[in-house]
Symmetry: C2
Subunit: 545 residues, 2 copies
């Protein structure tokens, strides 16, 4: 009879335990969890803080008692493993009652990640500064939120933004301080700006390219890098997470990228009796096959099941991770899958960018919302590298379809072929994903050539003439400086106003009408490019100055 | 300069026209449309009838005037083509002003499909009997609906059900008469029954395995096959559509399956100068490569663009159709992709069935709704054949992901690997699609063996003992006759009550707990199968008798 010890009883650990039991009714399975709860919904914590999840008990997906009974598990909460003693195959467990050793045949580490706590001056003596990882954390934050008016969230990743929204819902005045150029560092800047705009519209103060350099007055005053100070009754540190691998490190297990655990594709660490899964491990990014850390619940759950399969003798391999994530920020959702531009650059991959807007369902059916989609692909082969989408509705569906397409190795040429369900309340006869395939095909065929928003100034400086093909009324409400206005439907008649010797860039509201203009001009012998994302992106990125 | 004639100016035809123009600024493009409108939203008609789309003008996606200007098209409404004169490459056009001939270099047929009008006694002299295909049709139906109290919808396909719902919304008392065993003939019966239940709950009378055999009293009385009569102020014929190919047939073009037009993979008919697309053509079903008819807007739109590409000299092939469809029926959505059981049987393919229920998003987050998913796959290779899903929310997303997976040739083994976006408002750490992959892997590995709802009676008659592992309270509220009740969490203790010589079938509410029971029993040496879909499906299919 095998004796399995599992350290960490939440997403990865408990998934491994239950699957192990399903595959091996006789095994001894012990789960050691340092916190008071197992199997809780980390991902629900911000929503409990917001009051959207009203019952604290709803955060406990399964209680230890339920799991013990159903899966014949030996679950030990408030039991911290303080050492792995590899030579005698045991761990040292610390409890309120004392310390003991527990032997293992196989050990599974699912210790997760822990919030990064930056070394900021005065942090040690600061009060009401929190990180959020578990139920006790949220209890503390909620108690303090009820007694607070001003909150500062340091870090604008997924968790930071979810907490910011939650605190706004609780009536607090919230400021976000982010070191990077934009919120949601895993998104490219222009896509993140849609979300950032929503935050600002909901009264959140967003300070980017800034940082908290010191806590003063026991944490009630925050000093920023630019000298400014902020008053705060409640401060959240949400500057990212790091693999919780101190224990593994102390035991001499091999660590890699950012102290993540190195495992082989059977989840085996450098000690063949010790396996690891979840936020703690390094995985291979599907496209680049490079090492990466992905701190998400789905991979942790999947890996939990897979490691159990491996231990039960099934041939199950870790096939890598794409990295698909989504966040809701007020009425906006932001989703992403695969690689973004900075990751593509870091990997040295050549890529083409495409922005497109479309409707969540048939435009003529009530409630259709605008989705902005960004597609990244290999310009010669059409290989799909990544996608980002933002909008109030239907973002999850598009990202999930594209995540599936990328995982399956489809190319942009396959996107028009996807037969997505269409009835007016659910989609469009040409879904935005099909349209993205069309537009990508046009770029690959050279039928269309695009200029990105950040390339426009240089192109115009080099002499390109910008032509805005929107209606005069639209042009008057705001236009890109230097643009001349010839509405699309007048273009054929007014083409003579455009000397053929010039190079032109066409723009409209979204890029659709300007694409039509591009085709007309190209076929009349003009040198012309389409401004990708058109005025919508320009206006988002270049606010009035 | 090429001269293109396009017959039919809606989904396929107008998509071909606009793309042709984008690829060929000089070509002459004439669209001949017999109706008063081009480019209208056929799919929106039932929602306009319902009042959900309140403006009639919203049905006109693009007007002829807009399209003419933007795409330099020659659009001729109220112009019916009455003959194709292949020898002199012309068509005969009938208008209110008279008849004329128009020459073509290339001809595109996108004549669509037409509602089947069955030969029912008394139909000729019946009044207020309608079919729904275009705007004039809906105008008539709407006018009559406003003056009616009782309506009968003959045929329970997508359009029939949408119309039924629309008429209920307008306050009518609606009866559906369907010849088949269930509504939504393209679904398997048990999945369709979820939708049928919603209809009944909303007051619709659903008469299946029945037919209207005669109209009496000028259409006010409908006589049914079972002798019953129905009073009707408004009767809709919605018994399906057939390719509108009379014109093509008269011109001697080759027809095939159910009088659909035969085209090669460049959309060329048996006359190399004549192309055809949309509802009128026969396509290859992706999985079986067999001929099929698919009357849906997405394929028509896609084919429209593709035929333009072909004509403009691009290498574009018709890669076949999977057939993905969705319908909303009151609060329920029903979606399907790929093949259903009867299609699989007809194609002679061996398949495994799997039913699963799951939540539209994290169960602990407010608003999570139940989705029922049915997966059909090859039991040895795991090849995905088809999927059907029903539920109030998230059905479109799951069907779209599975449609993408099938198109990409993924197997059930790939489903757990799909990295779908997860945050509590959008999904689950293990999406129902991942879970379906898990359950399918278990079936393929023999870790689980299932019995379908329709196999249960025979299995029990052959001596299998049914064990209901739900809680006693659940069991008492309704159980399958002959089942003994041993709650899952007591099973390990009470196993001795089950003689090992017997064969067992386990059941619970959805199939999850009974799967857990199956694993416990199997590992204790029992012969046991899991009732797929469990009591939920049983109760749906075997109403109290
Ligand atoms: C606020 C918040 C919101 C999130 N939202 C999302 C989301 O929307 N979507 C998403 O995909 N992911 C989200 N995540 C991430 C997701 O929760 C994690 O990726 C996932 O839980 C990782 O699983 P794991 O098993 O690796 O680690 P965890 O689930 O964190 O479990 C690790 C456990 O190990 C225990 N442990 C660690 N060291 C020891 C030790 N020495 N002895 C005993 N026990 C130990 C810890 O106490 C912890 O309970 C969120 C996380 C947080 C904190
Ligand atoms: C009520 C209704 C609801 C629908 N709902 C959905 C849905 O939710 N989802 C979905 O995917 N599909 C739906 N469809 C189907 C979808 O509308 C069709 O699949 C699509 O329009 C087919 O495109 P097509 O170009 O082949 O034919 P159509 O769009 O029907 O266009 C054919 C045109 O050709 C014209 N024509 C025919 N013969 C001649 C002639 N001899 N001379 C001149 N003109 C001629 C007709 O007048 C017609 O306007 C629905 C259809 C209807 C009727
Ligand atoms: C809940 C938890 C204990 C895992 O439990 P689990 O039993 O593995 O998962 P589920 O209850 O979803 O059941 C899945 C199993 O049921 C099977 N199943 C589900 N429905 C079924 C059906 N209708 N028929 C047959 N089998 C079915 C699946 O195949 C799977 O079994 P397998 O792994 O042996 O193939 C673990 O995921 C957990 O602790 N979660 C909370 C923590 C967390 O994830 N936090 C981060 C996100 S907030
Ligand atoms: C509307 C209709 C006329 C087609 O018009 P269309 O111009 O082909 O389609 P769209 O307006 O969606 O534009 C799509 C084009 O714009 C391009 N495009 C869209 N957004 C773009 C962007 N941001 N940047 C660049 N190109 C873009 C696409 O690539 C595509 O061009 P391509 O085919 O040359 O590659 C036709 O579909 C129709 O008549 N529809 C109504 C009838 C119908 O479909 N009924 C059934 C369903 S209810």
């Amino acid at each position: 009879m095998m004796k399995y010890l599992i350290i960490g009883g939440v997403a990865g650990g408990m998934s491994a335990a239950t699957r192990l039991r399903r595959l091996d009714e006789q095994a001894e399975i012990i789960i050691l969890e340092k916190g008071p709860y197992v199997s809780f919904a980390n991902c629900g914590l911000p929503y409990y803080l917001a009051g959207e999840i009203s019952e604290r008990s709803d955060l406990l997906v399964k209680t230890a008692a339920q799991l013990t009974k159903r899966f014949k598990l030996d679950i030990r909460q408030n039991s911290e493993v303080t050492a792995i003693n590899r030579t005698d195959q045991s761990v040292t467990v610390k409890t309120a009652q004392g310390t003991y050793q527990e032997h293992y045949d196989r050990l599974i580490l699912s210790t997760g990640a822990q919030p990064v706590v930056p070394a900021i001056e005065g942090l040690d003596s600061a009060q009401h500064v929190y990180t959020l990882r578990n139920v006790p954390d949220v209890d503390q934050i909620l108690a303090q939120a009820k007694a607070s008016q001003k909150a500062v969230v340091i870090g604008a990743g997924f968790i930071g933004l979810e907490i910011a929204e939650a605190l706004v819902n609780r009536g607090l005045q919230v400021t976000i301080v982010e070191r990077g150029t934009h919120v949601l560092p895993s998104f490219d800047i222009e896509m993140a700006m849609f979300v950032q705009r929503a935050l600002v519209q909901h009264g959140v103060t967003v300070l980017t390219e800034n940082a908290v350099t010191a806590f003063e007055a026991a944490g009630q005053t925050l000093v920023l890098a630019n000298g400014q100070t902020l008053a705060s009754d409640l401060t959240i540190l949400a500057v990212g997470v790091q693999p919780a691998t101190q224990l593994a490190n102390a035991a001499g297990l091999q660590l890699g990228l950012r102290k993540g655990l190195i495992v082989n594709d059977h989840y085996q660490t450098s000690d063949p009796l010790i396996y690891a899964i979840g936020d703690a491990i390094i995985v291979k990014q599907t496209t680049t096959n490079q090492d990466t850390l992905i701190s998400l619940a789905s991979p942790a759950n999947r890996q939990g099941r897979q490691v159990a399969d491996v231990l039960a003798g099934k041939n199950r391999l870790n096939r890598g991770s794409l990295g698909t994530a989504i966040v809701r920020v007020f009425e906006m959702a932001g989703g992403s899958t695969g690689l973004n531009e900075s990751q593509l650059q870091a990997a040295g991959l050549t890529y083409q960018v495409l922005h497109l807007s479309g409707k969540s369902h048939a435009g003529y059916f009530p409630g259709a919302e605008t989705i902005w989609l960004k597609l990244l692909f290999q310009p010669q082969t059409g290989e799909l590298f990544g996608a980002q989408a933002v909008g109030p509705d239907g973002v999850d569906k598009r990202i999930d379809v594209l995540a599936t397409a990328i995982k399956a190795g489809l190319t942009v040429d396959d996107l028009p072929e996807l037969e997505l369900s269409y009835a007016p309340p659910f989609g469009s006869a040409k879904d935005i994903i099909n349209l993205a395939g069309y537009a990508a095909q046009n770029l690959m065929a050279g039928d269309s050539q695009s200029v990105q928003w950040h390339e426009l100034a240089a192109a115009m400086a080099a002499g390109a003439q910008l032509v805005d093909v929107r209606e005069p009324a639209e042009h008057q409400q705001g236009a890109i400086p230097g643009a001349i206005n010839i509405p699309l439907d007048d273009l054929r008649q007014r083409m003579s106003e455009l000397p053929k010797s010039n190079h032109y860039i066409v723009s409209c509201a979204s890029g659709l009408r300007s694409y039509l203009a591009e085709r007309i001009l190209k076929q009349n012998g003009y040198q012309v490019q389409n401004l990708d994302g058109a005025y919508a992106l320009y206006a988002l990125m270049q606010p009035k100055d």
